[in-house]
């Protein structure tokens, strides 16, 4: 795997892990049951993608998926500010979902064309699952596209896609504390 592929895989893995965590925050409290199920399922898929991507990168770098996912300090994550934000509003959640899935489709197409068969194979696998996320995001886009609150959320969040991956929001540090709490505390009898 070349360095650029490894860097790209790590960015996607970090995005999917953090977004999966954020999406799972709707479990139990989404506006209606269908969306509770949808966002829980999407979150599960995203975290599954993150794990597979971390495993591939970890093997190259002589580390493990868990170490990559949880043992780096938050400032070393390569995720986008778009996935870091904690949203309590549905229109922001859907705006992020739509922006993210649309952008994610483009980079997956590039990875599917990678000369490394493992990278291309994993990207193709992920893309099959993401097709259902995109379908869901577009369904919601069509429902809300004429709502002012939704279009305002799209305008507010769109710049985050290009905001870079070196600077992070305080919300990422908060999420990291929460996400790694059990792992860092090492309760008696646990082994990682």
């Amino acid at each position: 795997m070349n360095e650029q592929d490894a860097r790209s895989l790590l960015e996607i893995a970090d995005d999917e892990l953090i977004l999966g965590w954020r999406d799972s925050e709707w479990t139990g409290i989404a506006p209606f049951l269908e969306e509770d199920v949808a966002f829980s399922s999407i979150a599960q898929n995203e975290i599954g993608h993150a794990r597979a991507l971390y495993e591939l990168v970890a093997r190259e770098g002589g580390t493990t998926a868990d170490e990559l996912a949880f043992d780096r300090p938050p400032e070393e994550y390569r995720c986008s500010a778009l996935v870091e934000r904690r949203f309590l509003d549905w229109e922001q959640t859907i705006a992020r979902h739509y922006l993210y899935e649309t952008a994610d489709e483009g980079r997956l197409q590039e990875l599917k064309a990678s000369g490394d068969p493992e990278v291309a194979g994993l990207a193709a696998k992920i893309d099959r699952e993401e097709a259902y996320h995109r379908m869901h995001a577009r369904m919601w886009f069509d429902r809300l596209k004429d709502e002012q609150r939704f279009t305002a959320a799209l305008e507010e969040l769109r710049p985050l896609l290009d905001a870079g991956r070196d600077q992070h929001t305080p919300e990422l540090a908060e999420l990291w504390e929460e996400m790694t709490m059990v792992r860092r505390s090492q309760p008696a009898g646990t082994r990682w």
């Binding site: 993608h49 194979g121 099959r128 097709a131 259902y132």
Partner: protein, 161 residues
């Protein structure tokens, strides 16, 4: 000395952890079995990458292989080689008779919402195609929810992957 045929037969007895009416062999997740010097290698392709049943499946395969007196080696292949098209005809029939509508064949292009909203999906209970999409997502990543207007029965549809 254990043979590949014995291994396949043993793996065919392992139920899918979430839909126990079908076996791992019916599900098509086992790509290959190789036997060499007392080690049994199984090439295993995940259904959905985030499926929590994958670990249970790997552990169950390893356990069956040890019971045959061999050392298991489970290779997970995280590529695009598993598709719902790999579910065997017998597996599809078992799904249908348990109230799960089997997946439609994989197309060259990704499935679309328009396709899912069309009425080509058959109710596993009454056979009617007068069914509608309730939710793209369901109780596990591999399933969607539909409702049969004809017999007024909600049912789970396998997503095409």
């Amino acid at each position: 000395m254990v043979t590949a045929q014995q291994v396949w037969a043993a793996l065919a007895e392992i139920p899918d952890p979430e839909i126990p009416v079908i076996s791992l062999v019916d599900l098509g997740v086992i790509r290959d079995v190789g036997v060499e010097n007392g080690t049994v290698r199984v090439d295993f392709t995940p259904t959905f990458l985030g499926c929590p049943a994958l670990e249970v499946m790997s552990d169950a395969m390893a356990e069956r292989i040890r019971a045959l007196g061999a050392e298991p080696e489970i290779n997970v292949r995280a590529d695009d080689s598993w598709s719902t098209d790999r579910i065997t005809p017998a597996g599809r029939e078992k799904l249908r008779s348990s109230g799960f509508a089997p997946p439609t064949p994989r197309d060259a292009t990704a499935p679309t919402l328009v396709q899912l909203q069309s009425n080509v999906f058959r109710c596993p209970y009454c056979g009617s195609t007068d069914t509608r999409l309730e939710n793209i997502f369901g109780p596990t990543p591999c399933r969607s929810l539909r409702y049969c207007t004809s017999c007024r029965q909600p049912f789970e549809q396998f997503k095409t992957i």
